[in-house]
Each structure stands twice: as structure tokens, then as C-alpha cells.
């Protein structure tokens, strides 16, 4: 495998909960709670998990759009958690993000040409004429006519706006693009257009993606490896094939089994979970999943399991698979 483009070690992001008349801190939301992983050059790394598990926060912290509470991030061999704001701005040329909402993320008062040209201007790339040409080219790459540079965002449909969002991320020729639910807001019949486009671009420009989504069939389609998050923690990390053929973590198993399949002949043995997703401001002790886990044991209530590699390239954080210690329950 190629070398890691991004390495994340012990990443944490806690948000303060404030209350009372003096807005004193009364607790914190552990949105991302000790997450480590690597993303290799040219790969698509998927992140899945239920609403509020910390996917978007992870994505934003990686670009330092919000500052991490703790942990280290290495990009292209350089520790970016140490960079000054100015240095970070320069580095972001190589790290871009695409947001879920193609409506909210484009300034409605600016023409597409200006929205796309902005980044070129900031980084002082090319003359004015070269910038205009680049904008036209990038629009055509994402499947829109170059003349559309003179239109406003409201003149485009949802799918077209997401194409513009992709164009904006691509224009600086980045190495890494963090895609935060890029197709979730789109209609089903438009989703596949955008997914195909993203896949083509990734292959054509040898891009590395972190692809965040809650729709597993979408993540499965595009990702080489997938990380599963639950309440701010990464509970399983495997290649896409391994994860779908043989999910390890009880949460992954129930998540995969809960997806309704549109094929009426596909009979799914369902693992129904009891109860609700706990709050990240007050996560359960030990394994955060133990309150809903069908296989929970005593140890799960008290000891937090660590993410361990249990077979080559397959990582899981679950006491069922713990190798050391006296209760050797490796399965």
C-alpha cells in the first residue's frame, strides 16, 4: 500500500456545555473522543455512524476549521496541529472540504465565476485571464457548461449546485478532499450522477477522499476502507469487503443488518437494538455501546475497549475480541 497522506493520533474534540446566569461551563460534549486512523494516498476512506456520532466534527477538526481539544494530525508527513494560522491557510490549499448542503454553502449574491475564482485569487494563482479560464475548465470537468460562470446559485438545481461545490473544492488541485455527506441532500435519481462524478474525478486526479455519510450503501459504493463511529469513538475500521462480508463489532453488525434492502428477495436477518442512542454529553462508562449491545459482558460496563488490529488491517474496539488478559475471548 502507498504511504499515509493523513495520520490522526488520539484526536479529541470536546465542546463546552455552558449554563446558568454566568454561562459557566457545566460539562462537555465529547463529540470526538480519542480517535486514531490513517488515510493512504489515493484511497477513499469512508466514515459512517449514526447522527451526532461526531463525523462532521472529525472532518472539520482535520482541516482545523475547528481546533482539536487534543491529539495530533499529520498531513503529508507534517504535523499540522502545530502550524500557525497563516501556515495552516497555505496548507489548506491541499486539503479541501465539500459540505452536505449545496444550498447553504454557496453565497447567493455572488456569481458562480466569482465563487470559484475566489480561492485562486486568495492564493494568487495565475493572472485574471488565466483564472477565468481555469473557472471555465473546472466547470466543464464537473459537467456544467463554462458559460454558467455568469449565473447565480439560485439558478441551479440541487444536483448542479453540488457540482459547483465539487468544482470549488477541486480548483486548487488539492491532494485531500473531505466530503461531508455530499449526496445526502440530493434526490435519489440525482445521487448516482454525483457519485459517479466523484468517483471519476478521484481516479482521474488520483485524489484522496474522506467520505462521510450515514447512508451505508453510498459509503460502500465509493470507499476502499471504512471506519465506523459510535458516540465520538471509532469502533471498527476495515476494508470495505471485509466489513460487509464479516463485520466484527456488535454495533457494526446491527447497523448493517438494519439497512432495509430494496430487493424483496434479499432476506435480512435483523439484529434489533434496544433503547436509544445515549447523549455524547454523558456517554456510558466502559464501552459506549454497552447500553444497547446484545453481547455486553460485565467488563464492558467498566473498561473502555481500545481499537486493536485483530486480523491484518482489520481493527475493532470490543472486549469480545480482546487478546491479552486472562479472559481470552478471541473469536
Amino acid at each position: 500500500m502507498s504511504k499515509p497522506l493523513l495520520e490522526v493520533q488520539g484526536l479529541k474534540k470536546y465542546f463546552d456545555i455552558t449554563g446558568g446566569i454566568f454561562s459557566r461551563k457545566t460539562g462537555d460534549i465529547k463529540a470526538v473522543d480519542d480517535v486514531s486512523f490513517s488515510v493512504f494516498e489515493g484511497e477513499v476512506f469512508g466514515i459512517v455512524g449514526e447522527s451526532g456520532c461526531g463525523k462532521s466534527t472529525t472532518g472539520k477538526v482535520l482541516l482545523r476549521l475547528i481546533e482539536p481539544t487534543d491529539g495530533k494530525i499529520f498531513f503529508d508527513g507534517m504535523e499540522i496541529t502545530k502550524l500557525s494560522e497563516e501556515e495552516m491557510r497555505k496548507t489548506r490549499r491541499d486539503m479541501q472540504i465539500i459540505f452536505q448542503d449545496p444550498y447553504a454553502s454557496l453565497n447567493p449574491r455572488h456569481k458562480i465565476g466569482r465563487i470559484l475564482g475566489e480561492a485562486l485569487k486568495i492564493h494568487g494563482i495565475g493572472s485574471k485571464i488565466e483564472q477565468q479560464k481555469k473557472v471555465k475548465d473546472i466547470l466543464e470537468i464537473v459537467g456544467l457548461p463554462g458559460e454558467h460562470a455568469s449565473r447565480y446559485p439560485h439558478q441551479f438545481s440541487g444536483g448542479q449546485r453540488q457540482r459547483i461545490g465539487i468544482a470549488r473544492a477541486l480548483i486548487l488541485n488539492p491532494k485531500l478532499i473531505i466530503c461531508d455527506e455530499p449526496v445526502s441532500a440530493l434526490d435519489v435519481s440525482i445521487q448516482s450522477q454525483i457519485l459517479n462524478l466523484m468517483k471519476d474525478l478521484q481516479e482521474k486526479f488520483k485524489l484522496t477522499y474522506i467520505f462521510i455519510a450515514h447512508d451505508l450503501s453510498v459509503v460502500k459504493h465509493i470507499s476502499h476502507r471504512i471506519g465506523v463511529m459510535y458516540l465520538g469513538r471509532m469502533v471498527e475500521l476495515s476494508s470495505t469487503e471485509d466489513m460487509f462480508d464479516n463485520p466484527l463489532h456488535p454495533y457494526t453488525k446491527s447497523l448493517l443488518s438494519a439497512i432495509p434492502d430494496p430487493d424483496p428477495d434479499f432476506i435480512q436477518e435483523r439484529i434489533l437494538l434496544e433503547g436509544d442512542v445515549p447523549s455524547p454529553s454523558n456517554p456510558p462508562s466502559g464501552c459506549a455501546f454497552h447500553t444497547r449491545c446484545p453481547e455486553a459482558m460485565d467488563i464492558c460496563k467498566n473498561v473502555r475497549p481500545v481499537l486493536q488490529e485483530i486480523t491484518v488491517n482489520n481493527f475493532v474496539a470490543c472486549h469480545l475480541y480482546e487478546v491479552e488478559g486472562d479472559n481470552n475471548r478471541n473469536r
Binding site: 449514526e50 447522527s51 438545481s157 444536483g159 448542479q160 434526490d187 435519489v188 435519481s189 440525482i190 445521487q191 448516482s192 450522477q193 457519485l195 459517479n196 468517483k199 450515514h214 451505508l216 450503501s217 453510498v218 460502500k220 459504493h221 469487503e241 460487509f244 446491527s254 447497523l255 443488518s257 438494519a258 439497512i259 432495509p260 434492502d261 430494496p262 430487493d263 424483496p264 428477495d265 434479499f266 435483523r270 434489533l272 437494538l273 433503547g275 436509544d276 442512542v277 444497547r292
Partner: protein, 337 residues
């Protein structure tokens, strides 16, 4: 013999706005049998919610108005009476809403009052429905919460909506809808805002209620997985019209309308890996966009002359399978169903 409890015939609900008339629902016909789960699928803006609001007599007026068609509600238990919900009085409609047809709305927060406890709100519904003491109503509320799988129901009745998670609120909504033992439950995307593991719980619950109380369900969703999971029959809508209708197997396995075919083909498959996804070219028409001929014509791979000029009817293909597409009709046909 299966009998329809609800029959919608050529329903047209339009919105009269500053920017022109929006034909949100434009000639929609379908029926729901007693005790069945009917799926209504289609993309954002195709008119699913407006159809259900029309049935409930809740279309915001102005700007909306039912401009044509009928909605027949048949109660087989009550001497086979048939009422046209488009025509009934406001008072009668309120009665029907409180007793016979219940609805779960797309966003549970908009239909729960943040100022009252969960218990108070369910008790209100129960007391509107039957004349019982407050104490009995309270006990029934706790029973209902238990039925929909709410943990600690005795405590939850004293809590306010904001204290509950999304999944719990959605279950409270179902409990409230069940409180009046409705003949028809209209569920507008009841699981879209929920996580898949919670969605699985809710779908299981709805299946159980449908089975045990033989309640008819109109399930609005854009998720074909949910359809396969719970529906008996399916109505597919596109741009304000029903384009195909049939039993769930037929629609998912051998759809006939080019839109339905494209939609099913474009889903990423869970149990196989494919390099490229099929995709329907073009975009969903904008609301209010004037459409001539078949509404799907500009995206359809099978389009021919007739499609651009004439508006196709719903053609009957087989027993219970209809499709709005000229590929299945004869020249000059008028097989209006």
C-alpha cells in the same frame, strides 16, 4: 374480497402563489385496501405530503386549494357509508381526524407542543376520542407509550418534548396516532429523520400494529428499502402525478415506467459491488415549471414524439398494475382508470 377504505380519484391540489400556480398534486388517483400498507414513493417535491394533507383536510388555504377530484372514505363497519372528504363539513372533518384517520407528520417537533408534557398531549387526544375519566385516560396513555416501546413510560408522561430524543418523539407521535384507534394511519416519512437502527425499531412496531389492529397504513417515503420492508402495494409519483402503481414485488422487481426503472437501477446495491451506477440524466422539474406532455419526457431514455405533445393516461397493464406511459398504450387509447 378486499375492499378499499380510501379511494382518491383525480385529485388536484394547487397552490396559488405570487409566482404563479403550482400544481403540486395534479390528477392523483389511488386506493388503500382495508388492513394493507400502501407505499407512496417519489422524489422531493413530487406531491406526497400535499396528497396526504389533502386527505386530512389540512392543506394550508390560502395559498393551497383542492381544485378537483374526490377523496372517498368508506367505513365498512358502519353500514358501508361513503363520504367524500373534499365535500364534508369542517366539523365532520375534525371528527374524522380525531377518530378514524390519523397522521404522523414528517417532522415530529412541529406537531408536538413544546409547552405541554407528553402525557398531557396524549390524554387530550384520548379524551377527544372517548368519554372517559382523566385517570383512565392517563393509564391508557402509559399503556400506549409501552406499546410503542418507550422505556420508563410512567416517567416519560411527565416530560416535555425537548427532553426526548428524535426516535422517542417519533414513537410518541405514533402513540398519539394510535390513541384513537384509527382505521387509517397516514405516516409521512416517519423514519427519514431517524438513524437506521432506530428506524428498524419503528418499522417493526408499525408492522406489528398493522397486523394486530388490521389498521390500513399509507406510508410516504422516498426510501425503496423501507418500501420493500413494510409495504404490500406501491404508488410511484413523479412531478404531481401517479406514474405507476402495483404490488410491491412487481414495482421493485419488474417496474414498467421508465422513471421507476431508472430509480431502482440507480440505487447503489448493498449485496453486490458495481463500478459505475446507472443514473437518470437531467434534473427533477422545478415547482411551477410548465410541463407539456409526459412530465418525465425530458429525462426519459425511451422518449418518442407522442410523449412530448400529449399527456399519457394511466394504462392498465395487469390486474392492479397501472403505468402512465405511452409505451404501454395504443394509439388513440383512452383507458382511463
Amino acid at each position: 374480497m378486499k375492499k378499499p377504505v380510501l379511494e382518491i380519484n383525480h385529485l388536484r391540489t394547487h397552490f396559488f402563489t405570487d409566482r404563479g400556480v403550482i400544481p403540486a398534486v395534479d390528477d392523483v388517483s389511488f386506493y388503500i385496501y382495508e388492513g394493507e400498507v400502501l407505499g407512496v414513493v417519489g422524489e422531493s417535491g413530487c406531491g406526497k405530503s400535499v396528497t396526504s394533507l389533502s386527505v386530512m383536510g389540512l392543506v394550508p388555504n390560502p395559498p393551497g386549494k383542492i381544485v378537483g377530484g374526490e377523496i372517498l372514505f368508506r367505513q365498512h363497519s358502519v353500514n358501508e357509508t361513503t363520504e367524500n372528504l373534499v365535500k364534508v363539513s369542517k366539523k365532520r372533518m375534525r371528527q374524522i381526524r380525531g377518530n378514524q384517520i390519523a397522521m404522523i407528520f414528517q417532522e415530529p417537533m412541529t406537531s408536538l407542543d413544546p409547552l405541554y408534557t407528553i402525557g398531557f398531549q396524549i390524554i387530550e387526544v384520548i379524551k377527544n376520542h372517548e368519554k372517559i375519566s382523566k385517570k383512565t385516560a392517563r393509564n391508557k396513555a402509559v399503556e400506549l407509550l409501552k406499546l410503542v416501546g418507550i422505556p420508563r413510560p410512567e416517567e416519560i408522561v411527565h416530560e416535555y418534548p425537548h427532553q426526548l430524543s428524535g426516535g422517542m418523539r417519533q414513537r410518541v407521535m405514533i402513540a398519539m396516532a394510535m390513541a384513537c384507534d384509527p382505521e387509517i394511519l397516514i405516516a409521512d416519512e416517519p423514519t427519514t429523520a431517524l438513524d437506521v437502527t432506530i428506524q428498524a425499531q419503528i418499522l417493526e412496531l408499525m408492522k406489528k400494529l398493522n397486523r394486530e389492529k388490521s389498521m390500513s397504513v399509507m406510508m410516504i417515503t422516498h426510501d425503496l428499502g423501507v418500501v420493500a420492508e413494510i409495504c404490500n402495494r406501491v404508488v410511484v409519483m413523479y412531478a404531481g402525478k401517479v406514474v405507476e402503481e402495483g404490488d410491491v414485488r412487481t414495482i421493485l422487481k419488474s417496474p414498467k415506467h421508465p422513471y421507476t426503472q431508472g430509480l431502482i437501477q440507480s440505487l447503489p446495491k448493498m449485496n453486490q459491488r458495481e463500478e459505475r451506477l446507472y443514473s437518470i440524466p437531467g434534473n427533477v422539474p422545478k415547482p411551477g415549471e410548465v410541463l407539456q406532455g409526459c412530465h418525465f419526457a425530458d429525462r426519459c431514455s425511451m422518449v418518442f414524439n407522442r410523449c412530448v405533445n400529449e399527456d399519457p393516461e394511466l394504462y392498465m397493464l395487469n390486474d392492479g398494475h397501472t403505468c402512465r406511459c405511452f409505451l404501454y398504450g395504443q394509439e388513440g387509447d383512452d383507458l382511463n382508470v
